[in-house]
Amino acid sequence: MKRLLVLVGSCALVLGHGVSPWAQEESEAKAKKAPVEIPDVDTTGMKKESLDALRHAQDDVRANPARAGNWARLGALFDARQLFEEAERCYAEAARIAPKSFDYAYMRARVADIVGGEIDAVLALYATAEKLDPYYPPLHLHRGNCFGRYGRLDEARQAFSKALALKADYPAAELGLGQALLNLGEAEQALTHLLKAAAKAPEERAVNTALARAYMQTGKPELARKVAERTKAQSRGLDDQDRVRDEVLNQASSSHDAMHRAEHAMAEGRFADAIPDIQDYLRGRPGSTDVRYSLAYALYHTGQVDEALQECLRISEEDPDLLDAKVLIAQIYLNRPRKKSEEALRLLSEVLRKDGTNFVAMLMMANELSSLGQADQAVRIFERAYAEQELNAQSHHSWGVSLLQLERVEEASQHLRAATVLDPKFAMAHFNLGYSLGLQGRWDAAIRAYEEAAKVNPGLPTQLRIEELRKKQREEEEDA
């Protein structure tokens, strides 16, 4: 089977007109970037639920390949199915995108270790993770096991000792240290640690196996045989207490049902229905910033704005690369009675620095700049946004208003007309269209636009404008 590769590289969608030079440069720059491969495997005969989960996670990566969490989740799916090569590539990409994340660096190292990569490469990955969090005991446990596997027993001893220094009650590390000492020929010392491990985990086969060897090598064959008998019992395996790995893998486990329900509800705008399912999914997975963002979004749409804001602020602190959280914060700031315009614009600028194609951020920023009268900047950003994607009526309206401020009247008319086409009940768009057409002396068209505005919103001061236009129209006819 040939490996299936899915290439992703977002590029500007050209909609036939209005592509700015900036957008073209951006597009070319992206085209030059090496495409990121989304790993796939032969899925022939794969069960539907597994295939769905895999495709779902791949879609998420495809939709937003700049999101480390998406890669990590796809990696966890592969990881949980022992498709470690694919998992390692996903974790590597997650770690590249979010280089300060311990979780991703650690998961990458663990998978490379499991696969049996070259020892120096594996140890380098562990070292990278260690720089981010040197106080995580399982990291030192697994480093110790790695050293042990490669016969570097002194280094294994040091690593296990470090794990024990960080976490005294750690039978897995006691076992590792005991095994290392046993293989170093220090059977008496080994026995001490193995007895500690056995005290905590008396039924564990790994412990009893090593203990039996230690007894044998310290001249206690009868005790060795007695302990060996205990190894006949089934063993659950000694818990390595690796919370990080458990959490990441759990995210990709079969408990997607709740999230699927939540997604469905949110797609239908039933945000209140989605909240309990998201909260259920999050139980025991406090580290999942992606899902927490979903919860914040649902809270925001059910009017729980302060809760949404607080959650987004926390997420933004923990996962600076989750840009959607910053965008939602900005949106909340801008929608407040006492608008925090400056802070919102700072956040949106930050988002756009990291993701120059973030359409929502562009629109929010352009609209806000437009409302602040910074028409020149607003127009430039609308152009960038339009190069990415079609705009809605509101945005065309704001763009048109900004153009009016810049006295680019003909262009303004085009966008104001676009706004009215997209939303015929958009009274202000009709009104401003009338104004822009009037400036061009297109009296009839302007009058019709004002009349449309009046139909939608009779409260607008259209009548005076219409009369004024008719007067100008008459004067023009008389002059002619």
Binding site: G148, R225, T231
Partner: protein, 586 residues
């Protein structure tokens, strides 16, 4: 999960291109290279030392070996198919060179009775580098789904007999003066077994008659379906089924066997066994049995000298690896790799497990998992090892290793391969490890031996061309068997020793030997059963480095009945025969 989008329109426009396709089959995707095509390097090639030419030269075509293994249809992914089939080197006609017997699995992996189109093959070694297939395998015909071959002279008549293990009834064939084989299963007493794997002849009670240790795998159910970690239909692993306990057959000396498994204590432990090797591990003069179990703890049956055995694998440190985990034991062998006078153990395992090297740390002390120090761990971790054999490639006095590989769970297809769908999903390269001394191994890139990716299982060794070094035969599932001639650059002399007991008219299976040259010495035990599903050349081949070959040399033999004799070694680069009773008794 998907994240909500803030905008009403789609936020991200992706440009998606699909390259390649998901391939359900592999046979039509990558054309197989010709057997002698130059090696294509791949990113997945093992960690290897720089290659200095070809040490193991493929002579499959040149020798006339045309055998292509049949495993039967694969739609159901039967576990029986995944085991592969055996190979045996034996000198069936006593003409002084090793002939080659190769087994098919069969055409029906679910029932194991239909052998149409899958007749086993016996190739006569013509002594000139040519193999000639013998018609009808001279009667050495399997009737069930074939697994392994064990060779031993059960009648003490001077001709090696053959025991075949099967999925289905096992079979014993009597060698009729090297002219034909006769299926004597019905007349041989108890020959139980439903799904057997490797088998070994040994004289566990030292009565002069070769007994049989027969590994049992699992209670296989053909209707069972299994899926891999990605939920695709795949071969079931051993834990899907109930394990079986092994069988010990006592040779009553009249051509019949008695099942003494229960009395011997073997029924106390059931496991999915695959590999077996017999050595005197506790140095008490009685043969002990080590069994490599697939996903169960290994067994080291210590002979109690009274017809019973006790499993001391745990206390001697070979039941589990250094992390206390059982591994998927496949092939196994026991030799003194660090030349300290003690027999070490080496086992092959699944991918993501290491092949494991247990160093013998002394009588009563057991073994230490020294995989890491040996250098055998890292290169093996991405492979699933099966057959493995010891050989002193370049005659420098240190035993090297070959390991043949092939996945048991579906993987990726990487060329070059030469096999049909779906086996290409399981194909891997084979490996050579050179012992740099003191059991420090380095992988060696071999242009021929490591060229193709196949689903290799059995590997058997013999001095096939009688030139003083060890050659290699490899059995592959559903594809050609391959023969490799040892062309390594020689760094020493060789001594091939035939160790026979004239009273028994056969090789002294279990005899322990020690070759001493000045201050250096090497130990070997006469045995055929090691590796995986195979029988090997029973002649002992010592490599002696040039610097040690100049002085006086002697060979000490501890015969299976306990007699110890010493023989003078008149020189090297020759074969000598030592006969019990003709040496200087100690």
């Amino acid at each position: 999960m998907r994240l909500p989008h803030l905008s009403l329109t789609s936020r991200e426009i992706g440009w998606i291109a699909l390259l390649g396709c998901s391939a359900a089959s592999c046979g039509d995707k990558a054309p197989a290279p010709s057997p002698q095509a130059p090696a294509a390097e791949s990113p997945a090639a093992p960690l290897t030392a720089p290659s200095e030419g070809t040490w193991l030269t493929e002579v499959t075509d040149a020798s006339g070996l045309t055998f292509r293994h049949v495993a039967g249809p694969t739609e159901q992914r039967c576990t029986t198919q995944m085991l592969g089939s055996g190979i045996a080197f034996l000198d069936y006609d006593n003409d002084g060179d090793q002939d080659l017997y190769l087994m098919h699995a069969g055409s029906d992996p679910t029932r194991g009775v239909d052998r149409e189109g899958a007749e086993n093959a016996l190739y006569r070694n013509e002594g000139n580098g040519q193999l000639t297939e013998q018609p009808g395998a001279l009667g050495l015909v399997g009737k069930s789904y074939g697994i392994a071959a064990a060779v031993g002279d059960v009648h003490n008549d001077g001709y090696p007999d053959v025991f075949l293990t099967n999925f289905g009834p096992n079979q014993l064939f009597a060698n009729r003066k090297g002219e034909r084989f006769e299926d004597v299963s019905r007349d041989s007493g108890d020959l139980p077994g439903r799904f057997s794997a490797s088998a070994a002849f040994l004289d566990y009670d030292r009565d002069g008659h070769l007994d049989l240790y027969v590994i049992q795998y699992v209670y296989f159910k053909p209707s069972q379906r299994c899926f891999d970690q990605a939920d695709r239909l795949d071969f079931c692993g051993p834990t899907t089924f109930d394990p079986e306990s092994d069988i010990l057959l006592h040779n009553l000396g009249d051509g019949t066997f008695e099942d003494v498994s229960e009395a011997a204590g073997l029924n106390s432990a059931a496991a999915a066994g695959l590999g077996v090797v017999v050595r005197d591990f506790n140095d008490d003069g009685w043969p002990d049995v080590f069994v490599a179990n697939d996903t169960y703890e290994n067994h080291l049956w210590i002979n109690q000298q009274d017809g019973t055995f006790v499993d001391d694998a745990v206390v001697l440190g070979v039941a589990f690896n250094m992390h206390g985990q059982h591994e998927a034991g496949m092939g196994v062998l026991s030799e003194d790799f660090d030349n300290d006078g003690l027999y070490d153990l080496f086992m092959t395992h699944l991918t993501r497990e290491t092949n494991t090297f247990y160093r013998n740390i002394g009588p009563g002390m057991g073994f230490a998992d020294a995989t890491g120090q040996s250098g055998l761990g890292t290169p093996s971790k991405t492979y699933t090892g099966f057959g493995t054999a010891p050989l002193d490639l370049e005659l420098d006095g240190d035993l090297d290793l070959v390991v043949v590989n092939g996945r048991v769970t579906r993987g990726e297809v990487e060329p070059p391969f030469d096999m049909p769908d779906p086996w290409c999903f399981y194909a891997e390269r084979n490996l050579v490890f050179v012992n740099a001394g003191g059991a420090q191994f380095e992988p060696r890139s071999e242009p021929d031996f490591g060229r193709l990716r196949e689903v290799s299982r059995a590997v058997a060794v013999a001095d096939w061309d009688n030139d003083g070094d060890t050659d290699v035969a490899v059995g592959n599932i559903d594809s050609r068997a391959r023969l490799y001639r040892n062309d390594s650059p020689r760094r020493g002399k060789w001594l091939r020793v035939v160790v026979r007991d004239p009273r028994l008219k056969r090789y002294a299976i279990g005899a322990k030997t020690k070759l001493t040259c000045g201050e250096r010495s090497w130990i070997r035990t006469v045995s055929r059963a090691y590796s995986y599903l195979t029988s090997n050349d029973p002649r002992l081949l010592f490599g002696v480095p040039d610097e040690a070959a100049g002085g006086k040399a002697s060979l000490e033999v501890e015969w299976p009945d306990g007699l110890v004799e010493t023989f003078d070694v008149p020189g090297f680069d020759r074969e000598i025969t030592v006969l019990r009773g003709e040496g200087k008794a100690r």
